[in-house]
């Protein structure tokens, strides 16, 4: 029985640290509200109940000893949680089983970190029912059902407290370390593909894709993020979209001109990525045998990913803010500059160049045809002149 004994441990050092920080927090509370606003930490936006939880769980040293002597960290990074998409719903939304009156005396029974994460996936499904449903047929769920100890559950990809939507390549390669090498074996320009195509765009083959044209700072070498409290991008896009039917190529040019107007030394560009239209569908991830390998899924005029185009920027809290653009912007001659960093060979053809090619081929055919016609006309003319000349000569002789 001793093996199954569970003990909450907090070192004295951690306890002192806890007291010190609590004292410091109380000191800060005495400052005027204006000063606080200027220095507000994300965790300050949390509810009083959440702050109460973080009173203990906000300390790095808080650990729980599990069966077999393994230690489970019970630390919740306060700022990470506050900034996450779950910061607004609070601790109790997922941990409703915790009774604050008895929590410190009767801590939760946790067999292992892994089992706890698997059990918590059901809690995720309480709100994210569709995502969990999509996940049921995924390669991850199949591996989990087969007992694979490495099969990921919700928290392995999304994090347990600093929860965020995930589309980044970095998330997948956290486990799939050899992804790049595996793709390089068969995929031309593998590095570029993995940079501009989200993993799920090919590995969730039945999902619907789109082009996400995201604002990138070419000088700072980073995605442009909106400043806290100044969400301007959507308003600018809405103002540029004068007819309200999505940005056309001219309106997109106008928008890019406005975005770069104040910061001429920092030209910002739109970088295109192939993403899924809804993040929910990304949960139906399939194994490599079912993943899209057909180049024409994108590299063909009218391909499905190019039927939906969004212009976006990263908001202050890390989430994308999107505004619809018309799909024609991808092939417009006006987009040569405004979409300078996105072009998919075969898929986003410039329609004007298609017309020029037809003209060039027609002109190429017209040269021999036209020259031969000219030859016949000239020869006929010469023959006529020769006949007239021949006819004139006997008359001359007669006159002579």
């Amino acid at each position: 029985m001793a093996r199954s004994r569970r003990v909450n441990t907090m070192s004295m050092a951690a306890f002192h640290k806890c007291l010190l920080i609590a004292a410091f927090a109380a000191f800060l509370a005495l400052f005027p509200a204006r000063f606080m606003a200027a220095n507000a930490a994300p965790a300050d936006s949390l509810s009083d109940g959440d702050k109460q939880c973080l009173g203990c769980h906000g300390f790095d040293g808080l650990k729980k000893e599990l069966a077999g002597g393994k230690l489970l960290s019970l630390h919740v990074p306060a700022d990470g949680f506050a900034k996450s998409v779950h910061g607004i719903i609070g601790c109790a939304s997922c941990h409703a089983d915790v009774d604050l009156k008895t929590h410190s005396q009767k801590p939760k029974t946790i067999a292992s970190s892994r089992e706890y994460s698997i059990a918590m996936a059901k809690i995720c499904g309480g709100c994210h029912a569709e995502a969990l449903k999509q996940n049921e047929t995924s390669v991850h769920a199949t591996l989990l059902a087969s007992g694979n100890p490495s099969a990921p559950v919700c928290t392995d990809c999304h994090g347990s407290h600093a929860v965020s939507p995930k589309t980044a390549y970095d998330t997948c390669v956290g486990c799939h370390l050899a992804a790049m090498e595996a793709h390089q074996k068969w995929l031309p320009n593998a590095g570029l593909h993995l940079e501009v195509v989200s993993c799920a765009a090919c590995h969730a083959p039945s999902a619907q894709r789109m082009v996400d044209l995201r604002l990138y700072d070419g000088v700072g070498k980073k995605w442009v993020a909106e400043k806290q409290g100044r969400p301007e991008f959507e308003n600018m896009a809405r103002a540029a979209d004068t007819d309200g039917n999505g940005l056309d190529a001219m309106e997109l040019r106008k928008l890019m001109g406005q975005i770069n107007h104040d910061e001429a030394v920092q030209p910002k560009n739109l970088r295109g990525r192939i993403e899924l239209r809804t993040g929910v569908e990304a949960h139906q991830l399939s194994g490599k045998s079912k993943a899209i390998k057909d180049c024409t899924s994108c590299h063909q005029q009218g391909a499905e990913p190019f039927q939906s185009v969004m212009v976006s920027v990263v908001s202050a809290d890390g989430k994308p803010v999107r505004y619809r653009a018309q799909k024609e912007v991808l092939g417009s001659v006006l987009s040569v500059d405004s979409l300078r960093e996105f072009y998919a060979v075969g898929g986003t053809r410039n329609v004007l160049l298609d017309g020029l090619l037809i003209l060039a081929v027609l002109a190429g055919l017209a040269v021999p045809i036209g020259h031969q016609i000219l030859k016949r006309i000239v020869k006929r003319q010469l023959e006529r002149e020769a006949q007239q000349s021949a006819a004139a000569k006997p008359k001359d002789r007669d006159h002579a």
Binding site: N189, A360, G364, V367
Partner: protein, 217 residues
Amino acid sequence: MQRIYVHPLPVRIWHLINAIGFIAMLLTGAQIRYIGLIDLMSFRSAVSVHNWIGFVLIGNYFIWLLFYLFTDKIRVYHPELSPTKHFKASFRQLQYYGYGIFKGSPNPHQVSAYDKFNPMQSMMYQVVMFLLVPLLAVTGILLWDVQGFYGAVDFFGGVRVVDTVHVLLFIFFAFFIFFHVYMGSLGHPPTAHYKAMFVTGYEEVEEQPGHGKAANT
């Protein structure tokens, strides 16, 4: 008739590889760009063939370049420095192709080993060989590895600009290949220039009164 050796072996080898390569590049380029409308091969195969032949043609360009840089035959590419003289000669050449050739007039340009291009050919081939082909090669290399050459791609205005330039050149050469092949057929007999350029290197020219040499295209 007089036989003049105007196409040395390195030039004939370069031209043969170039001819086959350009046709293959145009076809695979069209396949890459118009997959679905043209189905000669898969997109992946077209990209692979296009890349390989592209590098062969870049290497082949240097056969041409080194031959002319290290021989006195470079004189065939010397520009005409008098614009008046050049445009008058070009006009005479145009008159020949538009009228004189049909009534058997002599070609105003007299071919020799060091002066094988008529004024219009001379200007066109200088633009093609010193500007358009290098530009086609550079934009092709950048598109071959956009990520690796990101700095250069960005310098030229982004991948869309580089691709547009590459496609514009593709469009030009799609026209040029028809034009070039047809103009080559204007010898006497029609296969004469093809035979000289691909096989013998010799052009047969008629001796003309006062010139000692005869017409050629």
